[in-house]
């Protein structure tokens, strides 16, 4: 029953395969761990000022990657833009909003199969 496995040295392949996978990923883990150690040291050595700079997007407060203080109204504008961006690109907008039926709808019919002057309006 196992002759095909034996003939193909299946066990050897499987074991050494697992070995390589573990070896490779342990190497990667070690490299990342090395990062962490260095990161820890760096953080302790550098001033608070610098440290604030390395705070990441998993931060519990609002945090910025840049050094500069961003004007508040610019911040608001960006936030609005992000909000709109998400609405535009991540939500199935087109199928959720519909347009009034009436004179305006004619424009909705520009959608056609030939892609001449067609515009994607629904």
């Amino acid at each position: 029953m196992f002759e095909n496995i034996i003939a193909n040295n299946g066990l050897g392949t499987a074991l050494s395969g697992m070995l390589i996978v573990f070896g490779g990923l342990i190497l990667i883990a070690a490299a990342i761990h090395f990062f962490n150690v260095i990161a820890e040291n760096l953080k302790n050595n550098t001033s608070k000022n610098k440290a604030a700079n390395t705070v990441d997007d998993q931060s519990p407060q609002l945090a910025f990657l840049g050094d500069d203080k961003i004007p508040e109204d610019e911040l608001v504008a960006i936030a609005v833009a992000v909000e709109l961006y998400r609405k535009l690109h991540f939500e199935p907008l087109q199928s959720e909003i519909t347009f009034l039926h009436g004179e305006l709808t004619n424009s909705g019919w520009k959608t056609g199969t030939k892609y001449g002057q067609r515009q994607k309006v629904r």
């Binding site: 199935p92 199969t113 892609y115 002057q117 067609r118």
Partner: protein
């Protein structure tokens, strides 16, 4: 000194022919129509520029044109001649098309079928002029008024005629607002033009999702040759209507469609080098193409009138003219024409039904030709 002569001899000025100049003028005309008249600019502009570039003369041996093995443009042209671009374009078109008007008014499908008489009539006409079967089929399909379908069938059956057929198809599609109104005037009376139609019923999301699947299956079963075109068109539509794959539909209907359109149009334009394009065959193709559009328009109009004999709720025969497809231009032509006689009679969305049905009809016709002649 020798080198200078060699260089000067390679400049285009040294090799320019009258034919090239004529073609460059035609290319300029296409660009003019695209920009100033806004006739199908997405197609005519790159085609026109391609026609100009394709007629820049150069010494043989330089790998520059679409017919030169190994040149960049020959690689792009391969996307046309292999038939790859048209289905990809149909994928994008499907993801932009709304079939609800057709779903709510299934009898309009017949108008989309009737207009295909232009294809088969012109096929006969082309045979009459001495073209072969495969060539005649490719020429006839111009009357389908769908660029990708015409190019696809030509690439499969008569690649040597691809250039003129593509140019003729796109030219007449751009000229639909000029070609159709006189025929509409001739074949309808005032009373018919004023027929108002009931607003179409509401279509559910489920119907919209099932529609592309059913159409793809039925059309491919009855004419398997239509599989590549109808399949991709309906895949795009399914991606759009399913509501769960919007990012795929968006990408297919934007960049993929645009890039394929640019490359296909430009390469088709480049393929019109005067020495291969300016032939009596091309003239014949242009004449037959115009005939094809006219027969298709007449077929749609008359069939609508025929249907009215049997229908209790009359349809406005003008929408039959939209059966040629050329989406959405012919539907718009119907709208404007009808408004002229009754300023409150909006036929646009009624005309969209035969309009998109015509696309399916032409693809089926192309499938039939492919099955017979290949």
């Amino acid at each position: 000194m020798d080198v200078i002569f060699k260089i000067v001899a390679t400049t285009g000025f040294a090799n320019m022919s009258w034919g090239n100049l004529v073609m460059m003028g035609i290319g300029g005309l296409a660009i003019f129509l695209a920009i100033v008249k806004k006739y199908e600019p997405l197609l005519l502009l790159p085609i026109g520029f391609g026609v100009i570039m394709g007629n820049i003369p150069y010494t043989a041996g330089l790998p520059l044109g679409v017919y030169d093995e190994g040149s960049v443009f020959s690689m792009i042209y391969k996307g046309v001649t292999s038939g790859l671009f048209p289905p990809l374009i149909f994928l994008g078109i499907g993801s932009l098309t709304d079939f609800s008007s057709l779903i709510s008014s299934p009898k309009s499908v017949l108008l989309g079928a009737a207009a295909q008489i232009g294809i088969f009539g012109t096929y006969l006409g082309a045979l009459l002029l001495g073209f072969t079967n495969a060539e005649s089929a490719s020429i006839g399909i111009i009357g389908g008024a769908d660029g990708p379908t015409s190019i696809f069938l030509s690439s499969q059956l008569a690649p040597q005629l691809l250039g003129p057929i593509a140019i003729a198809a796109y030219s007449y599609m751009a000229l639909v607002p000029v070609i159709q109104p006189p025929l509409m005037k001739l074949l309808t009376n005032d009373k018919e033009r004023k027929i108002r139609m009931q607003p179409p019923r509401l279509v559910t999301k489920r119907e919209k999702i099932l529609f592309p699947i059913i159409v793809a299956v039925l059309a491919s079963l009855i004419a398997p040759g239509a599989l590549s075109l109808v399949g991709m068109l309906m895949l795009g539509n399914l991606l759009k209507e399913s509501g769960v794959t919007e990012r795929l539909a968006k990408s297919a209907g934007s960049v993929l469609l645009d890039v394929c359109t640019i490359l296909l149009s430009f390469a088709v334009g480049m393929s019109t080098q005067a020495d291969v394009f300016l032939t009596t065959k091309s003239l014949g193709i242009f004449a037959l193409g115009l005939l094809s559009f006219m027969i298709a328009t007449i077929g749609g109009l008359l069939f609508a009138k025929l249907m009215n004999i049997f229908l209790k709720q009359k349809i406005n025969p003008l929408i039959g003219a939209a059966g040629v497809s050329a989406v959405p231009d012919s539907a718009r032509v119907v709208q404007h024409f009808a408004l002229h006689y009754d300023k409150d009679n909006h036929l646009l969305m009624h005309a969209m039904a035969p309009n998109v049905a015509g696309v399916i009809g032409s693809a089926v016709a192309a499938g039939v030709f492919m099955a017979i002649f290949r």
